[in-house]
Amino acid sequence: MNELTLMGDYEKFKRGMEVFLKRPDISVGTTPSEIVYTEDKMKLLHYIPTVEKPHPVPILIVYALVNRHYILDLQPDKSVIKKLLEEGFDVYIIDWGYPSGADRYLTLDDYVNGYIDNAVDKVRERSGLDKITLLGVCQGGTFSVMYAALHPEKVKNLVTLVTPVHFDTDKGLLHIWAKALDVDKIVDYYGIVPGDFLNVGFLLTDPFRTMIDKYVGLFERIECEPGDKECEVRNEETVRNFLRMEKWIFDSPDQAGEAYRQFQKDCYQKNLLIKNKMVIGGKTIHLKNITMPLLNVMAEFDHLVPNDASKPLGDAVSSKEKATLVFPTGHIGIFVGSKSQKEVCPKIAAWLKPKSLLDRAGEKKPVQENASQKGKRRESKPKKRDGKAR
């Protein structure tokens, strides 16, 4: 029996390697989109709606500066973006691009009051509405919270996904380690903080599983039915999805030094945001300014953003309508797990749909084509995006 198991494992490894040798296509971010605004390295993407009449209030997704936004559209059958489009939403997302030396002096003010504000204005202009829905993910959620507090007049609904706001917790390793780092020395030396430096930190949170067990587990999932074509297709899909995730994990943009410095010091080390003491662009962020409906979504087993870091947001804001959703999954699983498609997206959609309608007839204003001239603007024809291209 044991010898048979050994043979079976060898077969799995062999078949897995055969799929690797075929160099499978691992395109990511394949949901069709168009670029509707660019500013420096930032791009604002608009996904082509899949329903005839999308809900009037559009969603702008703000992703983190760490890693890439296409985790929300990683594979065609597990795509938060696709699911939101199917639910009838008009979806936009910010692609931050890859910062280089010229971006080392970008501050949080530039990101929040600059890029995000300009993207929001562009979406408002295109929809003809005064307010839109902001959906922030991870660090992008923290940015969205900052933005909503500074510009509440432009945000109709705020959805935060696995978003840290209370950083003084010992539940997550990143929160513990960040306090011990001399951020000034890191930024002063690197200028642009390498994405690989952050990646080492993420890998260290569970080194044996992320660097060994994950790869062993891949071959465990390979099926071995001789001559079974369907089984071969499943194997190919298993390898493809694994490689897509692998690509995303190690596709880590470098970080603009000054923004990184302030985020680490003011948030992770001093925990200023939740204390209403954080200052961006000369303005103090008061979370009580957040009065719009708030949906705070968390992953129960999140090892990067523990629930303790996300939960306090609900009590910190003034929103009359606020809800919290906790799903029994992890930080990444919330986007790509099977639960994401079956539960997470539908529940977010159910909360958001009634709030994505026009409040009154007078709310709609005419679209002004030249309203946003703050950055370089470019419209392009809808095209199919291939995440491989940088």
């Binding site: 044991n2 010898e3 198991t5 050994l6 494992d9 420096d40 030396g101 010229a102 971006d103 080392r104 002096y105 970008l106 530039d110 600059g114 010992d170 390793l173 513990i176 380690w177 306090k179 011990a180 780092l181 001399d182 020395k185 890191i186 002063d188 030396y189 200028g191 260290l204 949170t205 569970d206 080194p207 044996f208 599983r209 060994i212 067990d213 062993v216 030249n370 001239q373 703050k374 950055g375």
Partner: protein, 186 residues
């Protein structure tokens, strides 16, 4: 209790290193940190500082390594105990999956405990600081002694340009926005 050979070897290494550091600090360390003189004093003082920086980095690495070795040893000990009880000592090649499972779970749990301790955070913080100091000084030495004499641009100069570029970009955006506002008013 008698020490195992691996334990005594590791402790001996640590003891030897501690002794080496103390000796270095009392002798060569003082010498290299002595103020330099003469026309090349600025350059040579910086180069000599490199010794101290390297020793600081190496010491931080040894301390982190020493703590990691202790955790590795603890994890290995636990695996040995678990295989004796859970697998009844059967370590034949056929039972490798059970062994792998025990190994993976034990190492992950043991290291997680260490990684969430303040001890590891301190080690990490200290090591990173020493590494950054070492790298920064290295860069300065390379700029001073190689790039500048060859009239090649340095990182410091490129950063100055980047800062200027950043400032100009901001100004252009602000002015463009103001022009846009004014043209709308017209």
């Amino acid at each position: 209790m008698e020490k195992s050979s691996s334990e005594s070897t590791f402790e001996s290494t640590q003891e030897f290193f501690d002794l080496w550091v103390k000796t270095y600090q009392a002798n060569l360390g003082r010498l290299v940190e002595m103020p330099a003189m003469g026309p090349a004093r600025e350059k040579s003082e910086k180069m000599m500082m490199g010794f101290s920086n390297f020793v600081n980095l190496y010491t931080a690495w040894m301390e982190s390594n020493s703590d990691l070795q202790i955790v590795f040893k603890e994890a290995m000990q636990k695996v040995r105990e678990k295989t004796a009880t859970d697998m009844k000592g059967d370590l034949s090649p056929e039972s490798y999956k059970d062994f792998y499972k025990i190994w993976m779970e034990t190492y992950s749990e043991t290291f997680h405990e260490f990684l969430k301790s303040g001890h590891f955070a301190n080690d990490l913080g200290k090591f990173m600081s020493r590494l950054m100091e070492f790298q920064k000084l290295n860069r300065e030495v390379i700029e001073e002694n190689y790039l500048k004499p060859m009239n090649l641009p340095t990182k410091t100069e490129i950063d100055e340009i980047n800062k200027e570029l950043y400032s100009l970009r901001k100004t252009v955006k602000k002015l463009t926005s103001q022009v846009s506002e004014l043209s709308k008013k017209k």
